[in-house]
Each structure stands twice: as C-alpha cells, then as structure tokens.
C-alpha cells in the first residue's frame, strides 16, 4: 500500500479547516501535544502538521487566487528518513506512512532540512520533531466507525478538496483522480516521489452565447403577447 492524499486546488477555498482539524486531533494524538508558544501573546506560534498558503497566479485582472494546503507528502524517496541518525524517523513498509518515533528523536532538525515540503516542525518543549502521521491513530483504529477512519483533515474538509487513499491501487479514488485530472507532484525535479498529489484548477469551457443575440434591438411595442394560463 502507498497511502497518501490528493489535494484538489480547484475546490480548495482556503478555509484552514483541515489545518485546524489536524491540530485538534493531533494535539491529543500519538505525538501529542502540539505545543503552542505565546498563544495569547505578541507573536503567537506553534506546532502544526498542515499549513495552508495562499498564492496569486497572474496579474490583475487576470489573476487567480490559489489556496495551497501542505502537509507531509509521505514520499517514496523519503530523504528525511534516510538522513535521520537515530532511527526515530521511519517509513512504514506496509503503507508508506512516514512517522517519527518520539521516544527516539534527539531533535537535531536534520530531517527537516532534508524535507523540501516543510512537513516537519520541531516541538521546542518536547525537543522532538513532529509531523503529519496521516492520522495513523484514526485510520487503523477499529473502535472508530469505519467511515471515519480517515485523516482528520480529509474528514473535515468542507469543500471535499482532500482525498485519502492508496496510490498503489490503480482503481482507488486517489489514483483515478490523479489519472483523470492531471494530478501532479510538487518539485518533481528533486525526485522525492511524494505520494501526495495536487489536482490543478479545472478550466471551464466557454458557454456559447452568440446565438442568443437578437439581430435587431427589441422594441417593447413589437412584442406579441403569448397566451399563458395563470
């Protein structure tokens, strides 16, 4: 299995629901808590696994705003795992999920240097690196109802811009979406082979309107009443 996410940039409205649901689940999750620094102070900050950035493509008035959620891509070539000196970072062979064993991490930051996608954030209080677990403590927990065994971000996304599934299964929803919508990986040139894919905004075909134009400008007096029963 190769589990991962598909992010639909055509429908992501940039509401940050996924980011906060992630924070909420994971602050009591397997790498809990996700520390917040100065939560009520001058410059609040904290540990998040999922962050939404917003870009503007093109220039006014032909600009488009694109909302861009990013979390761990669970790369096939997970350099963050390769470089980890302690063995805290590992990629599960059975499903490809990349995790950090909190009991082994020494907080050297090296894995975060190796990650192109900014998926790893150090918790300064626990001194350990934390990252998206793909909600491994949801997706395999048999006590959670089956339809809810999904990452918290996917479960909550109001615009259904997030899909979770197995990329090794050619018929899974994620594989099909990538195939049909031209899903792509970020920074492919680095050859990390990220599992997560992004679906580009759809291009809407022009609506034909020419035949609707009347040749002559209508004059009220010329309209003939139609008989319609009230």
């Amino acid at each position: 299995m190769r589990l991962g996410l598909v992010i639909d940039l055509d429908t992501c409205v940039g509401c940050h629901a996924c980011a906060v649901a992630c924070k909420e689940w994971n602050t009591s999750g397997t790498t809990a808590p996700l520390t917040d620094y100065n939560p009520y102070g001058a410059e609040p900050s904290g540990v998040w696994f999922n962050r939404i950035r917003h870009y503007e493509i093109g220039e006014y008035p032909y600009n488009k705003t694109v909302n861009f959620p990013m979390s761990c891509m669970h790369c096939e070539n997970a350099e963050c795992v390769t470089v980890c000196p302690t063995g805290a970072s590992y990629k599960r062979s059975e499903d490809g999920i990349v995790l950090v064993d909190q009991s082994k991490c020494m907080g050297c930051n090296y894995c975060s240097w190796a990650c192109p996608y900014g998926a790893r954030e150090l918790d300064r209080v626990s001194g350990t690196m934390k990252k998206c677990t793909l909600c491994i403590d949801r997706i395999y927990d048999m006590e959670i109802p089956e339809e809810e065994r999904q990452p918290a971000c996917v479960l909550t996304c109001p615009a259904h811009a997030r899909m979770f599934g197995d990329f090794d299964d050619q018929e899974s929803a994620v594989s099909r979406a990538v195939r049909e919508r031209g899903g792509y990986q970020l920074m492919p040139e680095l050859n990390y082979d990220p599992s997560n894919h992004y679906l580009p905004p759809r291009v809407h075909a022009p609506i034909p309107v020419d035949s609707l134009r009347k040749k002559a400008t209508a004059k009220l007096k010329e309209w003939v009443n139609r008989v319609v029963e009230r």
Binding site: H16, E24, W25, D36, E56, N63, D101, P158, W223
Partner: protein, 952 residues
C-alpha cells in the same frame, strides 16, 4: 491492516452530539469528551447542514472553550469608579439578579420603553423577542440591522424567501452559480459543499466581488466590481436580457405580478398602485376573453405587456410593460453600467447571455407529479439551472435593498425561483410577500406588547411613530427615516440614547454584542458616548448591562456583567420560530445540550431570562397564582406554545412524541432530540420540493403547521406596491400618514422605487470623490467569519494582524510600497495602517479583515498582542451618521428603506505615512484584567491524555 498497534483508550471517552456555535452556520457536531475535557470536535455525518464536515472555527471550538478570557462570576462596576475604567467587583447571582429585577420592575411599571434590549450574534431571537414583548418595550432587536437586513427584506418583499438563511442554491442541480458580494457566508459549510458539487459537475461559478478572496478564489470567473454598484450591474444584465427577449414568459405570467395592471396617473393619488376590483383582487387583461379579469382567478390568460384603459377611465399598464420600458433605457446599457461598475461592457453582456443560455438552453426537469395552487396537476418540475447568492457585500450599502431586489429580478426573469437548479426556499419560507405580522406600535406600563416589536410594514400606517410623526423606537426603526427597518438599527442605539433623540432611556442591555469595538461604527466616539455624563453627573445611559461569556471590549463598559456559558455548556433551541436551519428538502431544527459541566460561576442567559421573566411576572411566564410557570429554559422550551401545538421545537411533539411539526408539548422532547444527535428533520415528499410559492400540497402543509396563515399562493412581486405606498406618502399623494419633514419626503420619493433601481450610495453622494477616491470595505476571513474569536489560540496563529489590501499596480503608481505604512482618511477620521499590495483587489478599492484589531487587554490577550499593536479597525473611519447637510437634521448612515447600516459606503484617501511614522494609530489604553481572571499562559500544551507513542 492490523500491523498497528495501540490506540488511545476510548473507554474513558464519551461521544455527545450537539450544534456548533462558532458562527451562524449551526453545523451538527460530534464531540468526544474525556474527563470533562474536549478530546475532539468533528462534524456530524448525519447532520443535514454540514454532512460530516466542519470548518476551522468548528474545530477550534476547543480553544474557545479553554479561552482564558472566559468570564467567571457576575461583576458590578465598583461603586465610585468611572464607567469604562475597568474596575469591577465580583458579586453573587442573587445580588446581580435582585439588582436587575428591581430596576427592570420599576421601568416596566412606569415606561417600559426606557429599557432597550439589543442582542448581537445570538440565535435565539424568538426568545429574546418574546421576552421584550412580554416586558412591553418596543426597544428590542437583534443585530440584523448592521448585518444584512437588506437581504432578508429584499427577498421577503419580493419572493417570499430570501438570501441570507432563507434560501439556498439547488446545489445538486444548478449549472451556473453567481455569487455576489460574498467572501464567506452564514451558510459557510453548505456553500463549500455545494461549490464542490457544482464544480465536479462542470458547472460554472462566477464571483462578483471587489476582492478575490474566500470563495472567489475558486471562481471560474472573477468579476472585480466597484463596491456598491452591484445593483447597476444586475440591472444592466436585465437590460441585455430584455433586449434579446430572453425571459421566462410562463414563469412571469403564472407566478409573479408581472401581468398585474398598474394605475398610471402621475402626480395624483393612487398612481402606481395595482388596479384592483372591489374585493381587492389584482386585475389583469385576459387575452382570450379580451377583458379585465381577476388576476388570481385560475386560468386567466393574462397579457404580459400592454397599456389599457379601464371602464372607469383609468390608464393602466402591466407591471412588465413598466419594467421593460424602464430597463431598456440606455441608462442601463452595458456601456453606461460599465462606467459605474468598472466591469467591461462586453463582460456584462456576455454574463447576461451566459445565464440566459444555461437557463433556457440547458433547461432540466424533475419528473415528479405535483399540484399547483389552483389544483392543476403537473407531471414534472421544470428547472432553469441558474442560481445566485448574495450577502453582505450587497447588503451593507445604503442602496443594498434595491441592489438585492435587482438581483432577485434577474433571477425571476430567468424563472429560477424555487425551481430545480435554481434558488430554493427553506422552510418556513416561502412566506407571503411580505410575511403578515406587523411591528408592535404601542407600549404601556406592565403590559405586554400586542405583537412582537419587529414585523413587516406594508404601508405608512404600520410605522412605529407618534402622532407628530416622531420615532417611538430608540433606534428610529419603522420611522420615516427607516420605514422598513425589519431588524432594527442596533448601530444607532447608543448614539440616539446619548443624544436623547428621540428620548433618553434608563437601562440598556446588550447580549453578545461588541458595541464598543468592532460591532459599532465610529468606535472611539462611541466609547466616549458610553462614558458621557449629564450635567448632574449621572451617565447619559444610566445603566448598562452586558451579557457575554468573554472579556470583550463591551464588558469593559458595563455597570453589570452577567457571565454566560459557552455553547458546549448549555441548552439551546435553534428553532423554526427563529432563524431556520432547514434545508430545501427538509424542515429542520436542532438543539444544543451541555456536553461539559461549567467550571465557573456562570449561567446560560436563556435560563436567566426565563428566571427574570418569572420574577417580573410576565403573563406568559407566570401561572395564575403568580408563581413562575417555567423552572428554567429547558422547561420553557418543552412547554411553551406560541399557538396551540406550536412550540420552539418541532420534532417529537405530542404526549407520545409521535407528532411532528405540530402537537402538544412532549415532556421527553429534549431526550428525543439528544437521542437523535441533536436535530430533527422532516423530509418533504418529492412533490413538495419545488415551486412552493404555488405548490398546493406544500402550501397546505405550511398552513397546517403554522408557517403561513393561509394556503393562498405566494405571488412574486417584481413591482412592490408596499414601496409605492411609501413613495406616494413622500410625494404627498397618500391617504394616510405622510411625513412632514421635507428631508423625509424627498427620501421616500427618491428611494422607494417600486421597481429595483440603482442609486449612488447616500454617503458617496455627499463625498468629494476627487478628495476620497477609494472605496473602502472590510470582510471577515473564512476561519473567523461570524466569530469574534481572535482570542482563539489556534485561529489567531493563522491571522493576528490585518493589513490594508490594495491593488498592486495602483499602489505602485501612487508610490506606495508593499508593507509600507499609510494614512487612511475619511470624512470621519483617520487611521494609520500597514498596506499589502495584492493582485486580487479591484483597482479603486481597498479592504481589510474586520475585527482583527482588539483593544489591548481584551479577550485574555496579553497587552502587547499583535491584535492590539498592529491590528486595526476600519470602524473609526465610518460614521453612523451621514455627513451633515445644511438645513437637514442628522440622518443615519443607513439604507433609507431598511435602516441597514451602510458600512461599505465608505470612501477614503490614502497617503503614504511620513518617515518614522510607523505602527497603527489610533491606539487605546490597555483594559484592566477582571477580578479572578488567571493570567494567560505563555506555553500551551493542550491534550486530554498521555499520548500513545508509536514505536518504530
């Protein structure tokens, strides 16, 4: 896969279903509770509103629950200290309620209107309104007057349902969706769910908005428009449709007043009113019978166009003829509209033709048999799959009522009202145009009002004015200044009370409303007004009661603070008598119930209101022996009946719990709701799902369950006789009350156009645009919409500072640098703020996120929080009054029809700040912490259990 492992211990957890209250969307939530702490809040998959999803606010509910700003005890301003100095002492509930009861009893026994009770972001207006009615004060409303009353009023006076929460696009079928002036919405999650459905189907989404944020991001086409000109854009599209004869003949003839005949008698009484027979039926010209007939007679074959002369010698024209003549005028041509709106003429024409194409060439049907109002059977519902939604960007202008009407006109011409793929109604809507209840007009001591303080006027006779034509309400709602102010004018209350215009009051109660900060115009001056004293030393507003759950800027000014619970700690009924949560296919309501036990000395305001009602012996709240009738809010909701069988909750009524929508009170009703995950839904049969304004089966149901008084069809009013009556009053041509002040006369004559029209917003008419060339608007970011929670430890990490956003090219032309500091000046004041240059901003517009700026010390934030040191409010620039004019009394800066606060009419000038001029200005002194408040933590490590670590 069972290679994993150990999981958290669910044995210690409990699942509870309730309703979110982080905004007005009212999603169903599934809350996992562990040791009286929240482990997880997620969307309820079975809930009709959110179907399992939840937004950022909903998930951040945890941080609201554990906010350090929570009030802990009732508080009294320390005797001898100044109001607004922030000196409080804790008192007991008994002391607090005794004090309040004495005061209110005295007011109620003398002059009940001396109590003004205004509520903010609550969703319990059916209760607060009933309470005010029973108290006997006219001075009650919620915050709709500064929210979006224009949307509600425009729809309810035209369609019978409306934007806001009264209707929804048919997300499952619509093929073309046009969104006007909405970045995020009350219907927050449903809209996101719907947009995805639309896009998946290949439908087109057009966003009309000066800023490309929020939903506009995913629009297939963004139409940057100058704020406040949407009405013109809509009417220009109407022009294009008419020009190309693109309108739905059948729809107009069957369901609207388009064929009604209107008397044409310029300058005389009765001009512009519908010509009626002696029984009041509207008359039409029957094309087959070639005679005038009752337009409400089934089978009349009415002429859509035509001018006729009645037997008694009157000239009459059909509404459609008047309308067509109006909008075919060159004033509405795309070229002219382009000059006003900034939208290219070709775009206007193309958009109009696109919606016509989808409406008429991509027509859909739903093959279900249904019966129309006249008993005729039909084998299918025909749908024109174009839908629209509009909200604050249209509403918050002084021309917003007419702009919203213009958009509705566009929808009606295309026949897209409550049809498959169109703009559908949600129960209890549609209601008659307008709904039949009128505002209470008289108050007297110790007596309930005859009706609720708010209602729907249809003529000058319905106004709430005294014999001299002076307003009887403190906010001047239903006066000549704002005749159809159906949600009141909360933004005028403080100003009017302090100016004793029309009179002074004794006690002002605010519930959940931040009227000394982001919810008021003119913030700094309003703070001064709250402190203003009489010559004798007493405060101009003698007693100010604030009910809130958090240490807001408003709490700071209170004389008495009543601490409320959070939404996870109390019972609530989200009632059909109030703001509906229904979906187009189902009649719905829902509840909250406590999922956590409060850890402080707080009480739900609902409970307190019911107790006060008993103490004050409101007739509906006491038994014959004078004892309170209800033990508390929960009991009240179970047993109160507005009419026989009709109570706050519609589900599981009847002694056995088997009657829905109508039935006797059921003592176990709350339990049924809790068992059913906190909501009730009554699925409408397929035959009742469309054309409900003329769908007999539905109309009969609506009558049976008390939504509507009769099962008569609801006629869509393209042409508003109500507005024409007021206009005639302004012109001195009305048999009934007429205003004396020429200012009022002129406003009525000008703006009460029976057909939707565009006029320049009032403030802008008085502002030199060369001096103030930029339109300035504000909006709320998605993760905070309709939620004050800038104290939310998670949400504020996302956004803790706002900027003034400006078009990049325009800014660069003016020598303004990205992240530079600028002065923003309006006729009312100036602020210094930081600029961010972006592409997604119409070039004549600047905007910012509202309510990010906080007063230092408020909301449990540290005094140096970014919200206080870098965030800002645009409110300082906005006046609640129009710029003065010679020979005119000061007028409210509001829509002249509805009194909707015209927040978005603001014009500003932008100049780069001088060297060394950095930081926001103005700044405010730091609020003192309240007694008993613990300091906010420096590090937060929220979790509910020790993590179960996964081993590599």
């Amino acid at each position: 896969m069972a290679t994993v492992m150990e999981f958290e211990d669910h044995g210690r957890q409990e699942i509870k279903y309730s309703t979110c209250y982080m905004c007005a969307c009212r999603c169903g939530i599934k809350v996992t509770v562990e040791d009286n702490r929240v482990r997880f809040i997620q969307g309820n998959r079975d809930h009709p509103i959110n179907q399992g999803v939840l937004c950022a606010k909903g998930s951040a509910g945890i941080m609201k629950q554990y906010s350090p700003a929570k009030l802990r005890n009732p508080l009294r301003r320390k005797p001898g200290t100044e109001r607004g100095a922030g000196e409080f002492e804790e008192i007991s509930w008994t002391e607090a309620l005794d004090m309040l009861t004495d005061r209110l009893a005295r007011i109620r026994a003398t002059d009940p209107d001396k109590l003004a009770f205004f509520t903010g972001r609550d969703q319990m207006q059916a209760l607060t309104g009933l309470w005010a009615q029973q108290f006997g004060t006219l001075n009650w409303s919620a915050h709709g007057g500064f929210c979006s009353v224009n949307m509600a009023t425009a729809g309810l006076y035209m369609l019978g349902h409306a934007f806001w929460e009264f209707g929804d696009p048919d997300w499952d079928r619509t093929k073309y969706f046009m969104l006007w002036g909405v970045a995020e919405d009350h219907s927050s999650n449903p809209m996101k769910i719907g947009l995805e459905k639309l896009k998946r189907r290949g439908g087109k989404f057009v966003g009309i908005n000066p800023a490309r944020t929020g939903y506009q991001a995913i629009a297939d086409e963004w139409v940057p428009i100058r704020p406040g000109t949407d009405g013109m854009l809509a009417l220009s599209m109407v022009h294009v449709l008419l020009q190309n004869e693109l309108f739905d003949w059948e729809f107009l003839l069957r369901y609207t007043n388009a064929p009604f005949l209107v008397v044409h008698r310029p300058g005389e009484k009765g001009d512009g009113l519908v010509w009626r027979d002696s029984e009041g039926h509207p008359m039409v010209w029957d094309l087959e019978k070639e005679m005038f007939v009752n337009g409400m007679e089934p089978g009349a074959k009415a002429a859509l166009f035509g001018e006729f002369r009645t037997p008694d010698g009157q000239n009459v024209r059909t509404v459609m003829s008047i309308l067509t003549e109006r909008y075919l005028d060159g004033r509405y041509s795309p070229e002219n509209a382009s000059r006003i709106t900034g939208v290219p003429a070709e775009t206007i024409e193309r958009l109009a033709l696109e919606i016509a194409h989808v409406a008429f060439r991509e027509t859909i049907t739903v093959d279900v048999e249904w019966t129309d109002w006249a008993g005729r059977q039909h084998d299918r519902f025909v749908g024109h799959p174009v839908s629209m939604h509009a909200m604050r960007g249209i509403s918050a202008h002084s021309n917003g009522m007419q702009a919203a009407r213009a958009i509705h006109l566009l929808q009606v011409l295309l026949g897209t009202i409550d049809c498959p793929g169109g703009f559908r109604a949600k129960a209890p809507y549609p209601r008659p145009v307008p709904p039949p209840n009128r505002p209470a007009q008289h108050s007297s001591p110790n007596t309930p009002l005859k009706s609720l303080p708010l209602g729907f006027p249809t003529a000058p006779e319905d106004l709430v004015i005294d014999e001299n034509g002076q307003p009887k309400r403190i906010d001047k709602a239903y006066s000549w200044e704002a005749p159809i102010a159906n949600h009141g004018l909360m933004h005028m209350v403080i100003t009017n009370a302090v100016n004793k215009d029309p009179y002074g009051i004794d006690t002002l109660i605010f519930f959940m409303a931040n009227m000394s900060w982001n919810s008021t115009m003119n913030t700094a001056n309003v703070q001064e007004m709250l402190r203003a004293r009489e010559e004798d030393g007493g405060y101009k507003i003698p007693f100010l009661v604030v009910v809130d759950a958090f240490h807001s800027e408003m709490v700071h000014f209170a004389d008495l603070v009543l601490p409320d619970t959070t939404y996870l700690e109390r019972y609530d009924a989200i009632s059909l008598l109030d703001r509906p949560i229904s979906e187009p296919d189902a009649i719905c309501d829902s509840i909250r119930h406590p999922v956590l036990k409060p850890d402080r000395n707080v009480r739900p305001w609902q409970d307190v209101m019911v107790e006060l009602a008993g103490r004050l012996k409101f007739p509906a709240f006491v038994q014959e022996n004078g004892e309170p009738r209800f033990s508390g809010y929960k009991d009240f909701i179970t047993n109160f009946e507005r009419a026989p069988g009709i109570g706050f909750l519609a589900g599981w009524r009847g002694a056995d719990g088997k009657s829905h929508l109508r039935g006797e009170p059921n003592p176990a009703q709350w339990d049924r709701y809790i068992e059913n995950q906190g909501f009730f839904q009554y699925h409408l049969p397929e035959s009742m799902r469309y054309y409900r304004f003329a769908n007999r089966e539905y109309l009969e149901l609506a009558q049976r369950v008390g939504f509507n008084p009769t099962a008569d069809p609801i006629v869509i009013e393209l042409y508003s006789e109500t507005l024409q009556r007021f206009r005639l009053a302004g012109m001195g041509l009305y048999d009934g009350p007429q205003p004396k002040d020429p200012v009022d006369r002129e406003r009525l004559a000008t703006y009460f156009d029976p057909l939707p029209d565009y006029y320049e917003p009032l403030e802008q008419q008085r502002i030199d645009k060369k001096e103030y060339p930029f339109y300035a608007v504000n909006q709320r970011p998605m993760m905070m919409y309709h939620s004050w929670d800038s104290q939310n430890a998670w949400l504020r990490q996302i956004l803790a500072q706002n900027y003034l956003y400006m078009n990049r090219a325009r800014g660069e032309q003016m020598g303004i640098q990205d992240l530079g500091w600028v002065w923003v000046e309006s006729h009312n004041g100036r602020i210094r703020v930081q600029v961010k240059l972006i592409e997604g901003c119409q070039e004549d517009t600047v905007w910012t996120w509202n309510a990010i700026g906080k007063q230092s010390g408020a909301w449990g934030l540290k005094p140096d929080a970014a919200e206080a040191t870098r965030g800002f409010l645009m409110n300082h620039l906005i006046s609640e009054l129009l710029p003065p004019k010679q020979g005119e009394r000061r007028l409210t800066n509001s829509d002249p029809i509805t009194g909707q606060a015209a927040w978005y009419d603001l014009m500003v000038r932008i100049t780069p700040a001088g060297p060394g001029e950095e930081g926001v200005w103005p700044t405010f002194p730091t609020m003192k912490p309240l007694p008993g408040m613990e300091p906010s933590p420096d590090v937060l490590r929220y979790h509910t259990h020790k993590p179960v670590n996964l081993k590599s």
